[in-house]
């Protein structure tokens, strides 16, 4: 597996292309959001409560009469932000810990990986609840919580890449030439660890969105009136019998975004590193 000349392959992989299409669509919606929203997503209109989909309100209105389409559009920005920031919060410390554990081994490895094991032993959702309960429940803390929960996963992936890279002669060669550990780690080990990190990060964005939605569903995530899709799902739960559209549309949006990330991530993995194709 060599340099980055695999972009052509990416476009030939239907999964990656489909995923990219969905993500780009949602990205565009997110970025153009304020211009696309037909109504103010936060403005209640008590007279129009729980109206079904119509030409005026293609997605209907919610319990406070707000236009669901506008709220879904507005929520796209939030969800993508959640994906990006949560993944960043997991990826950076996780990668660093994985690099150190894999490269230096022995005590460093044991210390780091045992703490990662402890972290992973908690069900992600419980841990996230715990964190948001300690800090106050709001969107920022949701992202921190979700990010924190996935740190061990990146540490593991990176550590495993590092362990196999350590066996490669070119990594040993830098040391034989007189290179320092820092040089080896930053210029030789890390760049070769990137494919699995990238793949996992892409799939991880989908997972982060789901986790944030779950937290939002439990009322621990973004607080009303923020139009976060999970929170919207939660609101809609009460009305599922009489006004299913309130939950259905945000739910579908979550599904679509996560699907997009998963398809793209799968395609990316097939192109970058078919050896990861395990589960």
């Amino acid at each position: 597996m060599s340099s980055w000349g695999t972009f052509g392959d990416l476009f030939r992989n239907w999964s990656a292309v489909a995923g990219m299409a969905i993500i780009v669509l949602i990205l565009v919606v997110a970025l153009a959001g304020p211009f696309l929203e037909p109504y103010d997503p936060l403005l209640p209109a008590p007279l129009k409560r729980l109206q079904g989909p119509s030409t005026d309100h293609p997605f209907g209105t919610d319990s406070l009469g707000r236009d669901i389409l506008s709220r879904v559009i507005s929520g796209a920005r939030i969800s993508i932000l959640i994906g990006l920031i949560s993944v960043a919060i997991s990826l950076l410390p996780g990668t660093l810990l994985g690099l150190l554990a894999g490269y230096f081994g022995r005590w460093t490895d044991s210390a780091i990986m045992r703490s990662m094991d402890m972290l992973m032993a908690f069900p992600a959702i419980l841990l996230a609840i715990f964190i948001t309960a300690i800090l106050e429940p709001n969107l920022t803390n949701t992202m921190i919580a979700v990010g924190f929960v996935y740190i061990p996963h990146y540490a593991r992936i990176v550590r495993s890449s590092v362990l196999s890279l350590k066996q490669q002669l070119f990594v040993q060669a830098v040391g034989h030439l007189g290179g320092s550990h820092a040089r080896i780690l930053l210029r030789h080990v890390l760049p070769n660890c990137l494919p699995p990190i990238i793949v996992y990060a892409t799939l991880g964005m989908g997972m982060a969105v789901l986790q944030a939605a779950a937290l939002g569903f439990l009322g621990l995530g973004a607080q009303p009136p923020t139009p976060e899709w999970g929170a919207m799902l939660s609101e809609g739960r009460q009305y599922i019998q009489i006004a299913p559209h309130v939950a259905a549309f945000p739910g579908a949006a979550i599904l679509l975004l996560v699907l997009g990330f998963n398809l793209f991530g799968d395609g990316l993995r097939d192109v970058l590193d078919p050896s990861l194709r395990s589960q």
Partner: protein
């Protein structure tokens, strides 16, 4: 000129085996079990043996890439064990390595010019422009074109990649090169090209090689002296002519007779060595070769034969050629 460029004294390398259980039962891999040798400047010193004999480990110890469990290595007159990090880094400029596997020896994400340049960068030699010039020079020296410096390793064949490995090893102008099975992974016709290149480079730059290989024909062709290893110990060391004409140690004899000869009409009068190579975790007592030796004597299982000079510049560790010390007691 110093009579030896590199000298090893009683080198030992023991690796603990990770097994569950109490410390009392912890086992040790005796990868290198007491090796002493001296390499002369300008020579090609061959080190042969089969898998598990410890030759690669010995190579790493000789260049102090790993610290031996016991024993010393002298580069010219300096004990490498006394070198701090700075001095060891300086030593790396004098002694370099060529590896067996040209496919994993180069970073797939680094352009070839950068790979060759890296040793110069690590040691802060020259300006960027000077380094670029040197890279172009080195590429030409190994038979590649300077305009290929921007390409990536996967664009080159196995033989070409090995040339890049060689170019990188030469970048710092080393005096000594450890070649660890440098041609084993290459096809026959490419092997010949690389062997010729190594010989040219040795003559051109006055290099000394420590040449590790399992291929006796290649060793016979390129080496001046040959040392044979078995289970972590040297069993014979001799000038190439004498070794190939008349090996002394029974293992060396078996090795030479086992290697297939490219002559269908050569007598199939081969000495087939029975049994398998025992594990370096529990080597047999006394002479490690005695269980498979067709000439073994009772003393061979009791006392380990010393590695002794039995003729001028001819060393053997075998009681067929000298008496055990126990007899004198």
């Amino acid at each position: 000129m110093n009579p030896t460029i590199l000298r090893a004294q009683d080198l030992v390398m023991h690796y603990p085996v990770k097994t569950a259980g109490s410390a009392r039962h912890r086992q040790v891999v005796k990868a290198v079990d007491g090796v002493s040798l001296a390499v002369k400047p300008g020579e090609v010193f061959g080190l042969v043996g089969e898998s598990g004999c410890g030759k690669s480990t010995l190579g790493r110890l000789l260049l102090y890439i790993e610290k031996p469990t016991a024993g010393r290595v002298f580069f010219e007159d300096d004990d490498l064990g006394n070198f701090d990090r700075r001095l060891l880094k300086r030593f790396r400029r004098e002694a370099q390595i060529i590896y067996q596997d040209p496919y994993s020896a180069l970073n797939p994400r680094q352009p070839v010019g950068s790979i060759i340049e890296e040793p110069l960068v690590i040691h802060a030699i020259g300006t960027a422009a000077e380094r670029r010039k040197r890279v172009a020079e080195l590429l030409q020296v190994v038979g590649l074109r300077p305009d290929q410096a921007a390409r990536y390793p996967h664009e080159f064949s196995g033989g070409q990649r090995q040339r890049i490995v060689i170019a990188r090893a030469l970048a710092l102008n080393p005096r000594l090169i450890l070649a660890d099975e440098p041609v084993s992974a290459l096809d026959v016709s490419i092997q010949a090209q690389v062997i010729n290149l190594l010989e040219e480079l040795k003559d051109r730059f006055g290099l000394t090689y420590i040449f590790i290989s399992h291929d006796l024909s290649v060793v016979e062709h390129i080496c001046d002296r040959v040392a044979v290893m078995y289970l972590g110990r040297l069993v014979e060391l001799a000038d190439r002519h004498f070794f190939y004409q008349k090996p002394l140690h029974p293992y060396a004899k078996a090795l030479l007779s086992a290697a297939p000869v490219t002559d269908p009409h050569a007598g199939r009068n081969r000495q087939i060595l029975g049994g398998d190579v025992p594990s370096p975790i529990n080597p047999p007592p006394g002479c490690t070769f005695h269980p498979r030796c067709p000439r073994r004597m009772p003393v061979c299982s009791k006392e380990r034969p010393r590695f002794q000079e039995v003729e001028p510049d001819r060393w053997v560790a075998c009681y067929l050629y000298f008496k055990p010390t126990a007899w004198c007691e």
